[in-house]
Amino acid sequence: MTTPFVQIRRPDREPKKMVELQVDGIAVSVPEGTTILGAARTIGIDIPTLCYLETLRPVNVCRVCMVEVEGSRVLVPSCSRAAEPGMIVRTGNDRVKHTRKMVLELLASSVDLSTTPGMAALLDEYECDPERYGPPAPPAAAGVRDAAVCGHHTPPNPDFAATLAQPPIVDNDLYVRDYAKCVLCYKCVEACGVDHQNTFAIAVAGRGFDARISTELAVTLPDSACVYCGNCIAVCPTGALMAKREFDMRGDGSWHEEKQTSADTICPYCGVGCTLTLHVQDNEIVKATSPLDNGITMGNLCIKGRFGWRFVQRKPEAGSQEAGTGAL
């Protein structure tokens, strides 16, 4: 008996049905399945986002992108809610602005947003005043937040506003986890899990304000399933996950983003051919990323592509054998 010929189905190229809706009074027509956020962007209305990323499934947890949909009792997350025929959407009325302001303010009052790109401008735009919740509580000692047990209540201290402040975790040579900066957007968990890497080294543990990103039993990364692809760093919106190199340079004040240039190349390690964007400062590679819109990588790399470039700029030490032979 011969094996029947199975035709591989090509992706559906049928033109999708169009959905007509109204965003801020402007009629928009988008293909079925487009989100409100997507629809708004086609007419140049920008809605700020934090936990949303083009390459990940929306988890709609940060609630920054909330908009008003007529007929809906509560606001809806524009990043995940699909456009429906006849929807009337308002992206910037007082009600929307209030929730957005409060969300940003609540985050700013509890999380260190100093390395979140664009955040300072956003906090200004929405006139956020994180200080009004009181002076930030002193940082927790290392490991204390990881040991928090759900359901065990500790009454608040009326003198302080609770925060996530805690020392960064530096337990390997490649990257640093600074959870004082974590907004719990779930992006790293998604990237480590089914959306990209399928390594499942990290997950959300704990509950409520004590929820945190953690390995099993909060073991160190070298003891976890982590493969150091760094794809979590690539999607982190706040710099809570950061390459050690960048972390160290920021620490000693030598990180100058404005002086950096970038160049795209192809990763030399294997045949996949991932596009690498090399970020260069003072003629030295300081970071490697891959473009989000790259069809091969969708922003992902492996440990080699992301971290294996130090040899390029390794200078032989004077007097060493290598210096003598001129070898790298």
């Binding site: 709609n60 947890v61 940060c62 609630r63 920054v64 909330m66 509560v74 606001l75 997350p77 995940s80 809610r81 009600r95 209030h98 929730t99 409060m102 969300v103 609540l106 985050l107 009052s109 509890s110 009004r132 919740y133 009181g134 204390v144 040991a147 047990v149 759900c150 359901g151 065990h152 209540h153 500790t154 009454p155 608040p156 009326p158 003198d159 506003a161 609770a162 907004v183 719990l184 899990g193 399928n198 499942f200 080294a201 990290i202 997950a203 959300v204 543990a205 704990g206 509950r207 409520g208 304000f209 004590d210 929820a211 953690s214 390995t215 099993e216 039993l217 073991v219 976890s224 399933a225």
Partner: protein, 634 residues
Amino acid sequence: MDIRLLDAEPTAEERSAVDDVLGAPGSSWDGGDRGSARDSHTAEFGGRATRERRHLLLPAFQALQARVGFITEGGLDYVCARLGVPPAEAWGVATFYAMLATSPRPRRMVHVCDDIACRAKGAAGLCASLEREAGAPISHEPAGHHVALDREKAAWMHSPCLGLCDVAPAALVVEAGAKTVERSIGHATKDGVLSLLGGKAPGPDGASTPHIGRSPLIVGGGLLERVGKVDPASLAAYRAAGGYAALAKAVDMGAEGVIREVTASNLVGRGGAAFPTGRKWEAVRTQPAQPHYLVCNADESEPGTFKDRVLLTEDPFAIVEAMTIGAFATGAEKGFLYIRADYPLAYERMQGAIVQARAAGLLGENILGRGLRFDIEIRRGAGAYICGEETALFESIEGKRGEPRNKPPFPVSYGLFGKPTTMNNVETFANIPAIVLDGGAAFAKVGTAQSTGTRLFCLSGTVRKPGVYEVPFGTKLSALIGMAGGVPEGRTLKAVLLGGAAGGFVRADELDITLTHEDTRATGTTLGSGVVMLFDETADLRDAVLRIAAFFRDESCGQCVPCRVGTVRQEEALHRIASGKMRGGVKGELALLDELGDAMKDGSICGLGQTAYSAVESAIKRLGLYSDAGSATA
């Protein structure tokens, strides 16, 4: 899936606890001994077959908890190996549920309720004297304490509402071991708890003799008809009292006929959201996707609510029958009953009812000999209020953290395991047999035009006769309180918490409220889950508000920012008022609370965040509890 484990060995005890739930492992690939005959058959493990067992994660953890007293490293590793769940994810699940311990605990734990209803009955004093005589609750021990922990000794800890508000102050004793002991304790006393901590065997379950009251206006059956009269442990007794006549009639009527009557009855959900049941059933019935599921939400955890406990404990067969009718009407062959962890007696009775119904051909294949197929599996919660939210409950059954989903899609099209699912509250189901037997029109004659039938209310707090009361919709709040005897002699009613922590307070001069959905909506209150908690002048209302704020902070799942951080800021603001350390005076704090409340209401994913400010807001605006606050004390 290639997962990396911790390389921690389970003990024989841990292994057997898990195997009791999952069956013996097939090969070393899923945690068995190396070198077994099937080891080369790697394809038997992993892939879809393994992933489809993920929903057993929580039962496996519960088995470990019940046997060993906490989730050990070896136990966690073994469960992960057996189910192919990455340890980090399993850890995320284990740390989500308050009744699962992830660090060593003594085998016997006494959970002492310190929630609002118990506080009104002296729980705070009970906890304080326990702290003096038995030491700090285990939660407040420094981390290092666990190292020297005596596993054989007992310890106590605080607990949110245990659903025993009619016998407040309440406690729950749980002892891990080969034979797990779980017992609810009503009217807990310091000496009683101390003797339990000293090793005394607990007495009979304190939830076994509830006080019930029925309005004389109820003609015919009513929901509490069999309670206290018909043996809840006997199917024969249930049938003799007319049980299972409704199922037989439902099959005669056909699915569409049943839904027609349920729709005509105008029955709406009794869990709090008041969604029309007929519409929900019809929406599920007509979904093309298969299979359909049916879930009974028995995770009653709203502080002050215990009506479902009484139905589950005292009339379990009625719930089984009603679920079977619901399954028949909506085309489901598999049902789940998700019951909160702290109802051991209700769990036992429901388990018994299901076993008996199965044996009598009333569950399983070919029910009543009419070709109907349906079975019920019980899932127990593990200490998370949020799992009463329908989509969080689905996630919990699926073996995940109980994080609510964003809606739409709604459960009728995308529910449990992504399939069309009917979910109803216990009390909603309890109404079904009568609707089938007497018809929707007869049911709709009781109550008002918009709120039909009767409703169970949970009377607690400083009330003379706490218990579950059944009254027709349209009864005045004052009449209901009157049935329970009001506040004790010589005391004055100060406020009533209506609808639970997610409901709101009303003043003592507002008892003219009619108990209907339309009237409560018009007066800015809610019936919620049927909580009517009384506070007289001996109860500290500001303390109750603080406890409610603490409750929401503790029970927030942590997914969305408005709720996760908002509930913390809300509690902080109330504590600043309580300690006289206001920022911008009381006025400033109240304005801040209002701003927070609006954002939580509008921006949260689910009902928990959306209602986290309700009771606080009513205390501020209705009771004016803080209008004279300048001083630190109430």
